[in-house]
Each structure stands twice: as C-alpha cells, then as structure tokens.
C-alpha cells in the first residue's frame, strides 16, 4: 500500500509522519515544497491546556471555549479528541525542537481570542514557521528511509472515482508537463479556498480552491461553506491582505475608533470580560457596526503603543518588523489602521470524526476539511487542528485501507492542462465579494447566484466549470442558512435559530446542479 497525500503543509506532513512511523509508504504531493505552504505564515500560536500560567486551566474549558467560539456547530466528539490530545501534541513538537517561549514551569502561554485562560503556546509571532521547520526535518528522516516519497511541483488535476470509491488521484508535474495517475487511498490536505477571493485573503496564492472544486465535481460532499472567517486586524498590501496577528491584542493591543474626535475603545466598553479578545466573528462584526455609525470615523485603529519594550523584544519582534517593512508604520509608537479581511475557511470537505469524507477511501484534513471550528474558528486552533487532523486521517487510512494493496502509477498521454482564466477568476471574486461580506442579505446573495449561473452558460473549460460550481455552492449555502450564527451574519435573519439551523450545511452535486441539505450535529458522547 502507498497512500497519496495531496498537500505538504502542516496537515499533510502530520499525516505523512503518522503513516511513516507505522512503516507505511506515502507519496507527498505539493505544488511547491513545504517551506512555501501557507502553514509557515501562521503567527500567533497553538492552543493546548498545559496549565503553566497558574490559572487552573482544564481540558474541559478548552473544549467549551472551542464549542462556544464556533457557535456550537462543531462536532463535539471531534472537538473533545482535539483538545484532549493537544497537550501531548505540543510536548511532541517541543521534542522535535520547536523553541517555544518558556518560563520556570515550562512553556509560556499567551491570551488569545475567545479563550478565558492563557492557553496559546507560541514562538514569538512565527509559530507556524517554527512548527513547519521541525516537522519538515522529522519527515525528512522517513524520506531517506524510502517511506515518504516527495513530489514537489505536482498539481492535483482530478480524483479517480470508480463505483463510488476513490481509487487514487491524477497529478501533473508542471516542471515537465507529465501527467500521472497514482492509485491508492487519498488524503486531501490542500488548504483553504483563497482563490475564490483573489487578493482579498491573508493566505497563500498557492491555495487556488481547485482541490475543493475537484472534490465537489467528483461527488464529494462539502460542508459549512458559508462560514468564512474575517480576521479583524488586517491591512491591504500589494496583492493581498497582511495579517496583524491576534498576538498583538493578546499582548495588550487595543482597538479604537474616533467618535466625535475622541478615541473610543469600543470592545472594552461593550465586552468588559474578554474586551479586545472576543472571538474573531464578534470583533469583526463590531468593527463594521461602529464604523457605520454617523458619529464615528470609518477607520478602526489597533493601538499597540502601550505594549512594554520587553514584550516587543521577546514576543513580537517579527510582527514589528513586518509592520515597518510592509506598512512603513512602527507599531511601537504609532497605531495601525486595520480592517477585517478573509483569513480562514471553517467550511470545506465534509469529514466525520475519523476524517473520512463522503467518498470511500478519500480522507481530508487541515483547512480544506470542515472539522473542529464550527461557525467560527478560535485563534490557535488551526495549527492544532492541522496536526491532529492529519494524524487522525492517517490513522483512519491505516484502519480501513487494504495494507496489502499493490501500488501502481500510470502515465497519461496528451492531457491538456485546464486552467481558470485570470479574467474569470477575477470576475468570480467580484461576484462573491459583493454578497459574502461580514453582514449578508438574501437579495445580494440571489444576485450573485444569478450571475454565477449566467457565467456557467458561457463557453468555459472544465476547470472553470468546477470553480463556478464551487462558487455557487458557497453562495447557496449562505442563502440557505436563514439565520445569523458565528461568521455568517444576515440582516434579514439577525437571530440565531437553533430549531432549524443547529445543523451542518451540506453541498453536493446532483447532476449539473448544486444541492443543499442540512445534517444534524452529533450528540456529545459520555
């Protein structure tokens, strides 16, 4: 048996490591090498109850914060597993040589959004990069042993589906143009759907959304696509949005808007307990609200000028450098103008607790999968979810796949590359951005749905068709959820509706149409 892992970011590496430790071979495919994956951009930290801050933290609290932060839409049993395994994951990362910041009791933890205890382990504000370096070195050992086969510069072109079972994947080597079928189980670890919102996200250009589109087209169910996280503190820079890590607020940064000429620290006034560290969906929605008020300016600032010099040196030096480099602003002495920007996709390929997708023999983990984060992800839970999810997906392959299956690879001849044209990609972004803002309404959603439908009647190639279907799936999911919850807020349905929508939104292809249904959230087991 050889398992095909699509994507070599944190989730893919974690899956590869799990398989290799069990002596099972895998192909590790990626468009570029691991150092280029979006995981290296994660900044603030990774959550785990280590209880090193004398706050009497408990795993039960981590579970509760994650469930509450996600507006109770996550699978409680999956979240239970995630939080219970978090402390061991962080200790294992330390053993791999991640230089976490430490105190006399062990790893230091900082405050992060939506969490009532200091629970986020970190390395300055480059946590993702540090984790990736350690994981890349750990996997390298198994590359040398011939258990992990690296395929950099390979792009997913299709999934091979026969009799409702995934038999493998088609990948192209874009250095040579060669196209191959790789047979065996597939673990998707392909990241978020940034490409649907070109230049509007904080993430990597490599995450085009094509993998999710391929999955949808091949009959795999996607879930909760309407839940798109707008991170409160981002700024437009050339070609993208720059993230100012939540660590800035975790270490004392404050949000304000000028009201009648005076600074108004609106989060502190409205939410006296967690203040600037409310969950991201709440902060972003508040920013929209205050800036639309007549007596307020339309720009919110992040004021980090009260953060002590020692903290800047030991915990935020890289964040400061980034502000100086890309914004020409030194945050030590000057507030930074910020606004919400797309940062994370809570929705994606639907998986169960064992990271199985709706297609047999196909698994998914990391941001491409819909798991753990419900309607809104907490900062510090994505690195954790990627590592844990990758591990569980690999364990499920070991449990369900046929270990004696013969591995084979097959070259395909004359397969023309299908790409989404830059113009169409831009057009799709415009359509989605017009109706999938922080605050939504059925009328604008309907307009967008209509426009996508029109584009589907044009002369388009197969890659463009599936991208449009994915866009349609996101819009229809948003339209069908007639309530406000987490990152999905609607002016026409401003209240949460647990009776009808305490459910997962499921999108699938039915013939040539996208079909939306709702699925009950599992009960938490004893």
């Amino acid at each position: 048996m050889r398992v095909n892992i699509i994507g070599a970011g944190l989730a893919g590496l974690s899956a590869a490591l799990t398989l290799a430790k069990d002596g099972v071979e895998c192909n590790l495919f990626s468009v570029q090498q691991s150092e280029r994956a979006q995981s290296v951009m994660a900044e603030g930290g990774i959550n785990a109850v280590l209880d090193t801050m004398n706050e009497d933290d408990k795993i039960e609290y981590h579970i509760k914060d994650t469930m509450d932060g996600g507006a109770n839409l996550a699978d409680p049993n999956a979240v239970d597993g995630l939080c219970r395994n978090a402390p061991d994951i962080v200790r294992e990362l330390e053993q791999l040589g991640v230089p976490f910041s430490k105190n006399e009791k062990g790893i230091v933890q900082r405050s992060f959004g939506g969490q009532k205890k200091k629970r986020t382990a970190f390395v300055k504000s480059s946590t993702g990069k540090m984790l990736m370096t350690a994981m890349i070195d750990a996997v390298r050992q198994y590359e040398a042993q011939g258990l992990v086969y690296r395929y950099p510069h390979h792009r997913l072109e299709d999934l091979i589906v026969r009799d409702n079972e995934c038999c493998g994947a088609v990948l192209s080597d874009f250095f040579t143009g060669d196209v191959y079928e790789f047979y065996g189980s597939v673990i998707m670890a392909t990241g978020g759907m940034n490409g649907l919102f070109e230049e509007m996200t904080t993430g990597s250009m490599l995450n085009t959304s094509d993998a999710a589109a391929i999955a949808l087209e091949r009959g795999v169910e996607l879930a909760n696509l309407e839940f798109i996280q707008y991170h409160p503190t981002t700024i437009a820079i050339q070609g993208k949005r720059l993230l100012i890590s939540e660590a800035a607020r975790g270490e004392g940064g404050r949000l304000y808007v000028k009201r009648r000429g005076y600074k108004w620290y609106f989060m502190e006034e409205k939410y006296p307990e967690l203040k600037n560290l409310m969950p991201r969906d709440v902060v972003s929605a508040e920013m929209v609200k205050v800036t639309s008020r007549a007596e307020c300016d339309d720009q919110v600032f992040l004021d980090m000028t009260e953060i002590p010099p020692m903290i800047w040196d030991t915990r935020l030096s890289d964040l400061r450098e980034q502000c100086v480099n890309y914004l020409n602003i030194d945050p030590v002495s000057q507030p930074v103008p910020v606004s919400p920007g797309i940062h994370y996709f809570m929705g994606g390929i639907r998986v169960d607790e064992e990271h199985r997708t709706s297609l047999s023999n196909c698994y998914a983990a990391g941001e491409c999968a819909c798991q753990y984060h419900g309607a809104n992800r907490l900062g510090g839970n994505s690195l954790l979810g990627a590592i844990y999810g990758g591990r569980i997906a690999a364990q499920s392959v070991l449990k369900y796949a046929d270990r004696d299956a013969l591995y084979r690879r097959n070259a395909l001849e004359d397969v023309p590359a299908q790409n989404v044209s830059p113009n169409l990609s831009k057009r799709i972004t415009e359509i989605l951005a017009s109706s999938l803002q922080i605050i939504r309404h059925e009328v604008t959603l309907n307009n967008s749905i209509h426009e996508i439908k029109m584009l589907l009647t044009h002369d388009i190639n197969s890659a463009e068709r599936r991208r449009l279907h994915l866009a349609q799936a996101v819009l229809l999911s948003a339209k069908s959820r007639r309530e406000s919850r987490g990152a999905h807020k609607r002016t026409d349905y401003p209240e949460k509706d647990d009776v009808n929508f305490h459910k997962q939104t499921v999108a699938r292809m039915n013939g040539d149409e996208v079909e939306i249904t709702f699925l009950d959230i599992p009960e938490r087991r004893e």
Binding site: Q32, Q33, A37, Q95, L96, Q141, I237
Partner: protein, 244 residues
C-alpha cells in the same frame, strides 16, 4: 512612473534563452517586483519594445510577504525576493532586469528547480535522532536557524557551491545548526560526519551568504557554532559573533 522591465525568457531547458524588454507604468516606486510581475501577467495582449508578443512570464510565488522564499530571482543582478524588493531600490536607472537564479537548473523563464536543497539536507541526515532538549543556550539559535526559507539566495552568491558539487552551502548548514545545537547526548553521528565532509571542508569562508540572506539570519553565527560542535566537539555558546 514608467520603467523598462527586461525579462529573461526561456520556454524549456532545451530552448534558447532570449530577453524581452517591456515598458511598464508603475503606480509608484513603492511597488514591489512581485506586483510588477503580477501586473504584467494580467495585461492582455502585452507586447515588448520590439512589438513582439509577451506570453505569460513564469515565476514562483506563494505568500507575498517574505515568509516562504518562493519568489527568489536575480533582480538587477542580485538574488533577492521579488515580494521584498521595491522599485525605489533601483530608482536611478529605471531599468529592472529580471533573471532566474543561475546556479539552479532552469525550468522556464524565472522558474528554477531548487530541489537540490532538499536532496542535500536528506544526504547530510538533517534530522533529530532523539528528542530535542532546548535550553536557554540553544533556544535562540534554534529559532534563528528555523527561519531559513530555503530560497537559495545564499547558494547563488556562494563561490564554492554548485549543483551536484561536494559543498552544500548555507542552505544546508543553517538548518543543520539547529540539529547540531542539541545537547551532545542527542546522537547525531551521521550528521557530524557528513557535515565535516559537505560543509566544513568545502567552505571558503567568503560569507557572501551572510550578507545576502533576505530574512537576515545570522549565518556566520550558525557556521561558527556548527563547526564548533561538529569539528571541534565543543559545546557551543550562544554568543553572537561580532560583525567584522
């Protein structure tokens, strides 16, 4: 402001390279080279100064914020990251010359095959053989070494490195310093042996790598510490090397 962009074109390793010069209207001299390339590729029916068609310029890019190392290329002769190089850096002559890194096998246009770096790290056995023990002595070093982007700029300027050669350069010894900095009890005999052969004995100490690193890793410090551990069996100190 109008500038001229000169790009080295090559459709495949077998094709003959040529240059195209394109007139480009930049919004301001704050624009970075990644933006220039993205704009050029988004311009329909782009033509060069000789009225030849300009097809898509192939290059690599991922994060656009100096965190991934994908966009390393020669910019007016120097290896740099496109997302971290602004037009105002070259204000005087208003000519921007873009070429692929020359040490690595060409794929097409500005895209090169840098997989030799992965291969070399595998070859020197760059991994921990036992669990790490980080102390205040090696923590800062581990952090700095872990920042390496594997972009290849250091190898481009190194007088001793060549693809397939015996010397592996800073792209190998910076990551190796993280592993070597572990306490002596963590076994790393393989790495020590190969480090001596692939780094220590081939390095001419020009330290061009130290100056070119786009993220400012203290490369010299990594070399000194790694030599101390691997060659002289001396447990290193965390003192930064003084700049000469």
């Amino acid at each position: 402001m109008e500038i001229l962009v000169e790009v080295r074109r090559q459709h495949s390793p077998a094709d003959v390279p040529y240059y195209q010069t394109i007139k480009y209207q930049a919004a301001s001299d704050e624009e970075n080279v990644a933006t220039v390339l993205r704009n050029l590729n988004a311009t329909p029916e782009l033509r060069d100064t000789e009225n030849r068609e300009v097809g898509e310029i192939h290059w690599q890019c991922s994060c656009l914020q100096k965190k991934c190392g994908a966009c390393a290329m020669l910019i007016n002769g120097l290896p740099r990251l496109a997302c971290d190089t602004k037009l105002k850096d070259f204000r005087e002559n208003r000519l921007l010359r873009l070429e692929p890194l020359k040490k690595f096998p060409i794929v097409r246009d500005l895209m090169v095959d840098r997989s030799i770096m992965m291969k070399n790290l595998r070859d020197i056995a760059n991994w921990l053989e036992r669990e790490a023990t980080l102390t205040d002595k090696n923590e800062e070093l581990a952090y700095d070494a872990s920042r390496c982007l594997q972009c290849g700029c250091c190898l481009e300027v190194c007088p001793n490195f060549e693809v397939g050669g015996k010397f592996y350069g800073a792209a190998a010894f910076v990551p190796a310093s993280r592993i070597l900095s572990e306490l002596p009890k963590a076994r790393k005999y393989q790495l020590i042996k190969r480090y001596k052969k692939r780094v220590y004995s081939g390095c001419g100490k020009s330290l061009a790598c130290h100056d070119i690193c786009p993220v400012g890793i203290d490369v010299e410090n990594k070399l000194v510490n790694s030599n101390a551990v691997a060659v002289w069996r001396r447990f290193f100190s965390n003192k930064k090397t003084e700049n000469p």
